[in-house]
């Protein structure tokens, strides 16, 4: 009874099918069929988790060979065309088949219905379909990448991709095109769920920031992905039939392709980033035992980022021959994205300030996110400046910048979220020591890998090159050494998390003492999440209520 008061949720009397004690979503049914035909959002999240973990390590393997090759200036390990295929494969897999889906489809799928007190997402069958569509797209792309590969880079710039490349461009694009529909299905499901299925009392402004972040990301998923689909169709038509849609010789315009591509691919960065920011908001409040500083500011900054993300795409094209005036406007708009991003960082810091901080593993990852994202974001401002961008465009400065955002930001946030909700998903605790060690290794390895690349880029080393002048070798060896440390950091959780399934000690329903509806259920949660539809009476993050209740 006291727990209901301290956390601000009162169970609502409602007829539900009775549940056998101890039944949860994992032990309710067994066998391959019970997994492949499930419509339970929690099981679909696990399907995605397994699929995406495999894809992450495939993409990581490509990066490993790239870094090994760059240990020496002459690139003795792989020939130049293989190198081109490797960095293309790394980019394509990591962007479309890991970073874009990972947080929404794994943690979002698992948590969105639980956080709003619903039994499932709005469209459970579409949710399962999205996994199949994604997997089919991933298999086609992987096949295309393994059977010959593709050498255009993940950006598919025309006319190289449409006319000159003699590699598997079409099959790769078809795979990406198909997987795009799974993105749309996920985004659509989240938006509909949050609009119509919130528990009684869970008003918009009582929603956890994780949900707001997913709402913002879903808007981008739904509105940006179709534009990429059309861009891929047009390149495919040009490539297959020789029509000059983007070919200047035949009246087309290659810059138009870049506009279409970046209209999707800039917002896509925020599909990767916003859900991770949502995770950080949850973790920071939980482990500093405080209400989030400036809830509405963090909330509106998510929406602000989603809106602004559609207005800055041409900052990727400052040297692509667009007019000076549009470059000026896009530069100014790109600066504006810094405002909502900075609001988030400041508010997380203010939340930590004077909090009673517990340095548990999830918080270590979240702090890593804040540090690395801040560096990535600030160097992004360098790139939004027209003059600086002319100098460092297409160099390792760019590589370092977006890896700070995507790996230092998104992957760090994802790791934090996975560690935070792992006890909820599995009912088991992982090794405290090894997980903290992993967080430390990843942070150190990351810094060592990508900080030298800022210097390399500033000194003028271009991206996507297979060889480089000998004077760049020291920095490249540093980067490769860091990458090997980073690899250890990413492999380590694979072991201790799998080990926790067998030998981890039971976590109990709420190991972190967190607020939030998902922690009100047993771990692992029952098939329908809640025995009774909860009624929400307070906003999220009421840690102060809990503390004062403990005092009494």
């Amino acid at each position: 009874m006291s727990s209901a008061i301290t956390t601000g949720f009162v169970p609502q009397a409602k007829t539900r099918p009775p549940r056998t004690p101890g039944e949860n979503y994992l032990n309710v049914a067994f066998g391959v069929k019970s997994w492949l035909l499930t419509t339970d959002h929690k099981r679909i999240a696990i399907l995605y988790l397994v699929t995406l973990t495999i894809l992450f390590f495939i993409g990581g393997a490509a990066a490993t060979v790239i870094r090994l090759n760059l240990m020496t200036p002459n690139g003795e390990l792989v020939p130049a065309d293989t190198y081109n295929k490797l960095f293309s494969a790394h980019g394509i897999i990591m962007v479309w088949f890991f970073l874009v889906p990972v947080v929404p489809t794994v943690l979002g799928n698992f948590l969105v219905p639980m956080m709003i007190g619903a039994r499932d997402l709005a469209f459970p069958k579409i949710n399962l379909l999205s996994w199949y569509v994604f997997t089919i797209g991933a298999i086609i792309t992987l096949w295309a990448l393994l059977a010959g590969g593709v050498d255009t880079g993940w950006t598919f710039y025309t006319p190289f991709s449409s006319k000159y490349a003699r590699t598997n461009v079409l099959p790769t694009m078809i795979g990406i095109f198909i997987s795009g529909f799974s993105s749309i299905m996920t985004g659509l499901n989240f938006i509909a769920t949050m609009h119509t299925m919130r528990a009684p009392g869970l008003t918009w402004f009582r929603m956890p920031l994780f949900l707001w972040a997913h709402y913002a990301a879903s808007i981008i998923l739904v509105l940006a992905t179709p534009v990429l689909a059309m861009a891929l169709i047009l390149v495919g038509v040009e490539r297959a039939w020789g029509i000059g849609i983007f070919d200047p010789e035949l009246g087309g315009d290659p810059v138009l392709f870049q506009h279409l591509f970046w209209f999707y691919s800039h917002p896509v960065v925020y599909i990767m980033l916003l859900p991770a920011m949502g995770i950080v908001s949850e973790i920071v409040t939980c482990f500093s035992r405080k209400h989030i500083f400036g809830y509405v500011f963090v909330l509106w900054s998510s929406i602000g980022i989603a809106v602004l993300s559609f207005l800055v795409w041409a900052h990727h094209m400052f040297v692509a021959g667009q007019s000076v005036y549009s470059a000026l406007i896009f530069s100014a708009l790109s600066y504006m994205v810094a405002v909502p991003s900075a609001i988030k960082v400041f508010n997380w810091t203010a939340t930590l300030y004077k909090g009673s901080i517990a340095f548990e593993t999830p918080l270590l990852f979240a702090l890593g996110f804040i540090a690395l994202f801040t560096m990535g974001g600030l160097t992004g401002l360098f790139l939004a400046a027209l003059g600086v961008d002319m100098h460092v465009h297409d160099t390792y400065f760019i590589i370092a910048h977006f890896h700070f955002i995507m790996v230092g930001g998104s992957v760090m946030g994802y790791m934090g979220g996975l560690h935070y909700w792992w006890p909820k998903m599995t009912g088991r605790m992982y090794s405290d020591f090894l997980s903290k060690l992993a967080a430390l290794i990843i942070f150190v390895g990351f810094i060592l890998t990508f900080l030298p690349q800022f210097v390399l880029g500033y000194l003028g080393m271009p991206r996507r090159y297979h060889v480089y002048p000998p004077e760049f070798q020291v920095l490249n060896v540093m980067s490769s050494a860091g990458a090997s440390i980073l690899a250890v950091g990413y492999v380590l959780p694979l072991f201790y998390m799998l080990w926790s399934l067998y030998a981890g000690k039971p976590s109990g329903p709420n190991p972190w003492g967190a607020t939030g509806l998902e922690w009100q259920t047993p771990s692992p949660p029952p098939p329908h999440n809640f025995d009774e539809t909860p009624i929400v009476t307070t906003g999220p993050y009421e840690y102060s209520i809990e503390e004062s209740a403990l005092v009494h």
């Binding site: 459970p124 509909a192 509105l223 029509i243 315009d253």
Partner: protein, 237 residues
């Protein structure tokens, strides 16, 4: 009560919530659709402004008559679709079946006419790659600036992608309508469970609206020549 129970999916609290969610989901999907058509409309508009004479010359050769008849056919199908939704909500099973079948008939008429039109385009050598004669475009009477065949091809490719994408949506819609007929014959579309008709109706109307934009963009562009006092400079972006 028992019917309500069978209709209500396990994860919804009540029917009202279930209906609201279904309609809302379709609206979100239509937002996606707006963006996919919006992307190609934008590309088309850019080249249309850049190469006005070539696009008008190509447009003048398209079959305005079939395009216009198809517009009427499609708008009529929207009416029968709207009537099907109404029939379901008031529980008139026979009217529902009739209206659904009429919608399917009109949709099939549209697609049939479209096939005829494509075939005529083919015979008129208006299909890039398959059947296209560059020479016939270099000497057109009454056009001041010379038309370039590859720009004409550009217009025609947009014509096929845009109408083809629209036709693909029509085919999907036809499949959904056939499913609705099966459901209706089994007596499963009732005033309690009318959302399938309403949601598919939304989709059908959207596909119609796309055609309303396609008609002037593709067919009516060539029915007049640009006035000589309005020079449209090429755009650089």
């Amino acid at each position: 009560m028992s019917t309500n129970h069978a209709v209500l999916a396990h994860h919804f609290e009540n029917l009202e919530q279930q209906r609201e969610t279904a309609a809302f989901g379709m609206w979100i999907f239509l937002a996606t659709e707006v963006l996919i058509f919006g992307a190609i409309f934008t590309c088309y508009a850019i080249y249309r402004l850049r190469y006005p004479l070539d696009f008008e010359a190509a447009s003048a050769r398209l079959n305005v008559l079939i395009g216009s008849i198809n517009t009427i056919v499609l708008l009529s199908s929207s009416l029968t679709m709207a009537l099907s939704v109404h029939a379901t909500r008031v529980g008139r099973q026979q009217m529902l079946l009739t209206c659904l079948l009429l919608t399917i008939l009109l949709g099939a008429t549209f697609l049939g006419l479209k096939v005829v039109e494509y075939y005529q385009d083919y015979k008129e050598k208006l299909v890039p790659v398959l059947a296209f004669d560059p020479d016939e475009w270099t000497q057109i009477e009454g056009v001041e600036a010379p038309v370039q065949p590859q720009r004409v091809q550009l217009m025609l490719v947009f014509y096929y992608i845009m109408t083809g994408l629209h036709a693909a949506h029509m085919i999907v819609g036809m499949g959904l309508l056939i499913w609705l007929v099966i459901e209706a014959r089994r007596g499963l579309l009732t005033p309690v469970r009318y959302m399938p008709v309403e949601v598919i109706g939304l989709y059908w109307h959207f596909v119609d609206i796309v055609w309303i934009f396609l008609l002037p963009l593709l067919y009516l562009t060539g029915t007049h020549q640009a006035p000589p006092w309005l020079p449209i400079p090429p755009i650089h972006f």
